[in-house]
Amino acid sequence: MKKLALIAVIFIGIILFWAVEDMPAFGDPDASANQYTAKMYIERTLPDIGIDNIVTAILASYRGFDTLGEVVVIFTAGISVALLLRRGEER
């Protein structure tokens, strides 16, 4: 069973490293992410939202629903740990 798991991990690892070749280079100006979306956020954050921090604008406003999901995930993790470890507290 352990050998099978090792083979599976190595196999998936080789596939992942193989896929890295197809990713755009770091900071490549011709990558599609840098040509359209990044430009759009830089141009429209200040007129749309009125704050200077583009990262916060994307996190809390453009992708607000995603961040709500992240907060719910953290909340669920805390509640799960409390449920699993905190036995016998409530009467």
């Binding site: 749309d48 939202i49 009125g50 704050i51 200077d52 921090n53 990262v55 916060t56 604008a57 996190l59 809390a60 406003s61 607000g64 629903f65 961040t67 709500l68 907060v71 719910v72 953290i74 909340f75 993790a77 805390g78 509640i79 740990v81 409390a82 470890l85 905190r86 036995r87 016998g88 507290e89």
Partner: protein, 144 residues
């Protein structure tokens, strides 16, 4: 836990500054480097330092373990409540622009983002403290 004057004195001095810095990081989220997730973790780290320096009995006398769970839910409630408020003002869920145009107050969008960041910070802080207290307490809470 063994008494250690140096650890207790240094943490007693540094905890207020850590908490002040955490609040700065949360409030500064809209205009610089910062945000709810980072600030919440920094705020929780001050309570973890409290736990390390003063032990479980020390942290129990300062914060309410039962109240921590209320805080964890309150942060999510603030975030989702702002989102629902946008629906009341005839916008989309979490579409803050609807409130700004309905009330006509400038910079309300940035203020709402700050409130949302505070909600994130409250949840992250409370969950971190809750998890660290659950792991620190080996014998269960029934003891007190």
């Amino acid at each position: 836990m063994r008494e250690n004057v140096v650890i207790r004195t240094v943490s007693r001095l540094s905890i207020p500054f850590i908490q002040l810095f955490a609040l700065y990081v949360i409030v500064h989220g809209a205009s610089g480097a910062g945000g709810g997730f980072q600030g919440g973790v920094v705020l929780a780290s001050s309570f973890i330092l409290l736990l390390i320096a003063f032990g479980l009995s020390g942290i129990r006398s300062r914060i309410s373990v039962r109240g921590i769970r209320v805080f964890a839910a309150a942060g999510v409630f603030i975030y989702a409540g702002i989102g629902l408020l946008c629906i009341i003002y005839a916008g989309n869920f979490l579409g803050y622009g609807a409130i700004e145009s309905a009330l006509g107050i400038p910079h309300l969008h940035a203020l709402l983002i700050d409130i949302v960041e505070a909600g994130i910070g409250i949840t992250v802080m409370a969950v971190m403290i809750s998890i660290i207290l659950d792991f620190a307490d080996k014998e269960g809470i029934r003891r007190d």
